[in-house]
């Protein structure tokens, strides 16, 4: 049997992130980046409300899922594209891109825990 690649791990993360992004990504960007900041149809909830959301277990789950999976999705795409462009050796690109996604996921988790319950 040919030597197994570890690609499936990152491919499944990429797939999960891609699916979430495809299903709700456009709406999220519209809400957080266009509508809420300019009070078009929705306005920003106040600090207390958002904090309560981030403290709620479901809120934490949602934030972790969206942020981490989006980062992992982009990391896989960036890794493969940089490899296509022959920017550097494959192993270096993998470590750099997955490393950033991993770091971002860890920071997200830490922030969510630090924010408290």
């Amino acid at each position: 049997m040919s030597k197994r690649s570890t690609a499936p791990i990152f491919w499944l993360l990429f797939g999960a992130g891609g699916m979430v992004a495809a299903l709700i990504g456009p709406a999220l960007i519209l809400l957080t980046g266009v509508m809420a900041p300019f009070d078009l149809g929705v306005s920003f909830p106040d600090y207390g409300t958002l904090l309560a959301f981030a403290r709620h277990p479901l809120g934490k789950l949602a934030l972790l899922a969206v942020i981490a999976l989006f980062l992992w999705h982009g990391a896989e795409r960036a890794c493969l594209t940089l490899r296509d462009m022959r920017v550097g050796p494959g192993w270096l690109l993998s470590w750099a891109t997955y490393g950033i996604a991993g770091l971002g996921s860890l920071i997200t988790l830490s922030l969510l825990l630090a924010i408290g319950f």
Partner: protein, 132 residues
């Protein structure tokens, strides 16, 4: 018997920037846009953790033209991602056989896009409803 000396033509280094691969490269870059938006959200979460003052400045930044431009670009990337995602999705599945025939991939793509539009509409509707 003539000489056997196969000639190897190296792959063109900028193949990804030329037709017919440009669409593919754009699709991949839209995926990077997804991560960039994730980073923007992460920044917001960090400001939320830091406190009301930090979060107020994040909100102020969101209302700047620079942020709006960025979000519009990210929105374009996200939409390209969405469309190309459901175009590629049927390729990752075994043939779906219903009633003795394979379901055309276009139909799976259309179903996926419809589901996505529904989810987006639901999310927008819920947000607008909660705000009013």
């Amino acid at each position: 018997m003539s000489e056997y000396r196969p000639f190897h033509r190296p792959q063109r280094p900028f193949w990804w920037a030329r037709a017919p691969y440009r669409g593919y490269s754009l699709r991949e870059l839209s995926g990077v846009g997804v991560a960039l938006y994730g980073a923007v959200l992460l920044a917001g979460l960090a400001c939320l953790w830091r406190g009301p003052a930090a979060f107020a400045s994040y909100r102020a930044w969101l209302a700047t033209p620079g942020s709006l431009l960025l979000h519009l670009l990210l929105l374009a990337a996200m939409l390209l991602h969405m469309v190309t995602w459901f175009q590629t999705l049927p390729k990752t599945m075994p043939k779906l056989i219903i009633g003795g025939v394979a379901v055309p991939q276009r139909r799976i793509t259309a179903l996926g896009l419809a589901t996505a539009l529904l989810c987006c509409a639901a999310l927008l509707g819920a947000a607008i409803g909660a705000a009013s």
